[in-house]
Symmetry: C2
Subunit: 415 residues, 2 copies
Amino acid sequence: MDIKRKIEIANEDTTNRLIQGDPVLVDIAPAGEVIPGLEDRMVLHAGPPIEWDRMCGAMQGAVIGMVLYEEWANTAEEARKLLENGDIKLAPNHHHQAVGPMAGTITVSAPVWVVENKAFGNRAFTRQVEGRQQFGDYSDEALDGLRKWRDVWAPTLTIALEKLGGLELKPIIIQALQMGDEVHNRHHAASSLFANKMAVGLALADLPKDAVLPTLYYITNHHLIFLGLAMASGKAISDAAHGIEYSTIVTAMARNGTEFGIRVSGLEDMWFTAPAPKIKGLFLTGYNDDDAGLDMGDSAITETVGWGGFVIGGAPGILSLVGGTPDEAIAYTREMRKITTAVHPTYLMPALGFVGASMGIDIRKVVQTNISPIIDTGMAHKDPGHPIIGAGLVRAPMDCFKQALIAFGNKYNGR
Amino acid sequence: MDIKRKIEIANEDTTNRLIQGDPVLVDIAPAGEVIPGLEDRMVLHAGPPIEWDRMCGAMQGAVIGMVLYEEWANTAEEARKLLENGDIKLAPNHHHQAVGPMAGTITVSAPVWVVENKAFGNRAFTRQVEGRQQFGDYSDEALDGLRKWRDVWAPTLTIALEKLGGLELKPIIIQALQMGDEVHNRHHAASSLFANKMAVGLALADLPKDAVLPTLYYITNHHLIFLGLAMASGKAISDAAHGIEYSTIVTAMARNGTEFGIRVSGLEDMWFTAPAPKIKGLFLTGYNDDDAGLDMGDSAITETVGWGGFVIGGAPGILSLVGGTPDEAIAYTREMRKITTAVHPTYLMPALGFVGASMGIDIRKVVQTNISPIIDTGMAHKDPGHPIIGAGLVRAPMDCFKQALIAFGNKYNGR
């Protein structure tokens, strides 16, 4: 069998695994209890591996935030010293079955969503999504959101989820795609549907009002609460499609704010990286282009499985956040068809006549067409200490795909 | 001042009132306690006035259903006799500050949504929306849904609503229009958002689990629960714009399954009617075009205030229910701009670049352009005894608008 045919078979398998992925929320638990290899005095971060001194400002701020949150240090100065001395371990989420939004920082005591891919049995983990600490803000107010999640919201939801016996996420994602969500940065519908389900779980549990009420307020007013669930779903789906020999399909796109990295199913756990690109988008009041950090976060796992920028044509509501016109959004979505292996049979977009989401990014097609995956994303400040400053659109750097294709040739040619 | 200028001023006033309408859910209560003029042994129905023997099959079936539900008769035969003998009064919802979906039947013991237009102080009422009795099905199973609403769901929601101190509906409608609802037959988003608000109300109330749980299941799984709220909102909004001298703006479109009728702000409570049109659409399994009754229901009050068919271009998800393509849907929505007086400042459609909903149907523009309002709607059987059979699109009959324009001339010319 020639290599072309081997790739064809491998990619079909990879694509089918991506299509069949069936994420179910099975638990919410402290990261240290569930994430393999996560140790005390260790901070997981977004993107490919990176050392403290090469981290961008926002990621440094977020890491400092986690060190303070875990009370490994009492001041930002102390935290910074620990980090400079290498007293805190750093590792990418992706090396621990996890993903995280923006800086993506996860530490032992932070409760994470535990999502199981029921079709293949593997699990993935993501932290809570909020608008401050994960963007580099380590103020006490920012950390207070993490503490409320740890002490009230997450434990309460854990009990509600137990009462429900887990929660199937694929049906919610399918519905949300027909309700104007693109399942990366717009989660109005999915979050609302999720809250509907959890409200039932909370009613089933016999919990005190002072746990139920703040939790209900939190989940019914947090338009992005489903982002964490979408990311864990994306990771659980793509991990089950990773490690297939001869496959040229991308199984991770992730950024640490300094570098953009991709992983490919047939290329083991190698990262192919390029400098993180600048985002083109809209800024929140008080911020402008000069403040912007570079592309950051594991959230591009959603584009990796066919959501986000890949279905933005079906979710024009997000354009008020990221900029652009409905026609441009539809054009992006149609363009992604050219670099992917399939359209999903149930992730449908009404605005495009109920066509399925394009998915299965093929590094060969990306290089051949010179069309790079489009990602919609939040924006962090270039310096530590700030909350979210805006959102926009960005293209994955072409160089990552070229490097991957060369590595693929090196590995498989002449075998 | 010439008549043209008087009309201009009147229409501006009417339009502003439609724009400012601010519907708030203030109560859920048995119809007999809140609807002015609703008596015992009286059935309110959709559309313009109609006598029993001219009612279509579906409406007759629905009226029989209400007579059985109120236990004014024990069998359909008994009910039919009472109705034939004139022992049950019949009156249009619109004559009682009310509207109703499909046959639209309301009787004393049926709990109704009570919506107040906070901008002007007037109230409107609508019954529960379901898929059987309101379509003419008077089986015991169909009536059981009405009984559960009366005995469990409505009383429980009433207490939850009290705890919330009422519920603002305009913010939900604004959000839903950006989440793929057209706020007539697609209410996935609005219903989900509504359920989340009510879940908080239920948690605030100290109610037994056997009331809370079935009610939460009901509201979190009823994709059309918001239709009743949208209809009462539409009626509350349009009533506040009714009765303005010299105004040529439509304040009601309603159908009884036999006739389609409109009312105009400057023409008091006159109805201008034409035969109810046939609907073009899609059928549920087991039904076809030969089964279809004609256009029925007060739900076109939603189009009257700028939702439904008028914003269908922003809600392509509904096309799986009513048929057609996204391009056709956008064309309908753009076309409605030609027969209306304004675009709403906050009812925005992302798919059309965040343009506002066209609203304020001007009978002069309809006649001049020969463009009739487009309505998306459910379909009932032509015979009594059936649940919903499909959904589709329909145009308001041009003749209603021509008659109204002639009546307008007769009333105002030469004054």
